[in-house]
Symmetry: C2
């Protein structure tokens, strides 16, 4: 009778695959995308370098899995925050604040996943992540505009600019250093979110209570 994988073996394999991706993710969060190399990943996952290739055809696919994992998590958080808001405009505001807060909380990882220098092949993969984010924001902008809560505008232009401003302002290499002062960090998020909303055509977001204090209860993960 031919060899059949035991149920427990199947579980072990799946768990190991998962642990490889987790190892990669944690390394990315510490040392950036450049530090995501096969040998360190294998070491952290307590396996040999060659074993990685029993689970992924190549580094590209591993990175793809890594980004997919992060993407899922981030989009879910974004949607949870937005959908809990009472209307399209506050949903947009909540998405902005949530994105900013989470990005800042995992600054290194956010930078690695969105803006950090990598080589071309990997950039292509990462683009899909950014694309998802941008589309999420674009959809929220369009909905708000359709409801007359924002001036009509080109969301395909505004959404990338919005993401660019948030990333560059909070986690980019030139952003001010907020480490060690949570209050300052929170204030920066508020200020940026207000500026972003002004840019989108909401001059009085604060007065209208659109930008609430972070962290939201539902931002935690």
């Amino acid at each position: 009778m031919p060899y059949r994988r035991t149920e427990s073996v199947v579980r072990r394999l799946a768990a190991r695959k998962e642990s490889i991706v987790s190892a990669a993710l944690s390394i990315a969060g510490e040392g950036g995308i450049g530090a995501v190399q096969i040998a360190p990943i294998a070491a952290r996952a307590d396996i040999a370098a060659g074993t990685v290739y029993r689970y992924f055809p190549g580094k590209t696919e591993l990175l793809t899995a890594l980004i997919a994992m992060a993407e899922e998590r981030e989009l879910a958080a974004l949607r949870r925050a937005a959908d809990a808001a009472p209307g399209p405009l506050s949903a947009l505001a909540a998405a902005i604040v949530t994105f900013a807060a989470r990005a800042q909380q995992h600054r290194r990882l956010a930078y690695a996943l969105i803006a950090e220098p990598v080589d071309a092949g990997i950039e292509a993969i990462r683009c899909r992540f950014r694309q998802s984010l941008v589309e999420e924001f674009a959809a929220r902008i369009e909905t708000a505009a359709a409801n007359g809560l924002l001036p009509q505008q080109d969301a395909t232009l505004a959404a990338p600019a919005l993401v660019g401003a948030l990333v560059e302002g909070l986690v980019g290499p030139l952003a001010p250093d907020f480490s060690g002062d949570a209050g300052k960090a929170r204030a920066a998020i508020q200020e940026l979110a207000l500026a972003a909303l002004r840019g989108l055509g909401v001059p009085d977001a604060r007065a209208r209570g659109l930008v609430v204090q972070t962290p939201f209860p539902w931002v935690k993960e």
Copy 2:
């Protein structure tokens, strides 16, 4: 008597150094930072690979020279446009529009010099360029705010966000494709500039004539 370089030799050497940097710059403009490699540069400059090392101790220094050249050019253009404006606020607006217009005109190069993935060592160099840009904008923002033309705000937060929004909105990988439609490109610049100014606290830039049609006569190079 020891060997002394002839005047003509000195000129030839200087010209060659210059031509190496130019070759590197043109390659960056075509293929991005990743394509800036010693062998192709040497080929384009019509010299051997080893010769590059007679002019630069290493690739890092060559890249530094490349970026310095671009930085000089860009900052000069920015300042020329801004200084020709009639006041601090219109100077800021002019700087924004000029930056956007130039970045879009040399989209590939702008991306390479500001946002494109590269490895860590090079990123450090490139940061200085972005830093210069951000500082230029920050100074303009502060001046305008000091004159009561903008609400008081943290320019060290606003300036990076501004640059991020412009870059991501116009030249980033997710920006809409403007090639082949100059009108659309121009409209995008206008819209982005207006949004940026709204974000900074100028709700009616268009009505106040702050964002004039590009290209400015003085934007040309």
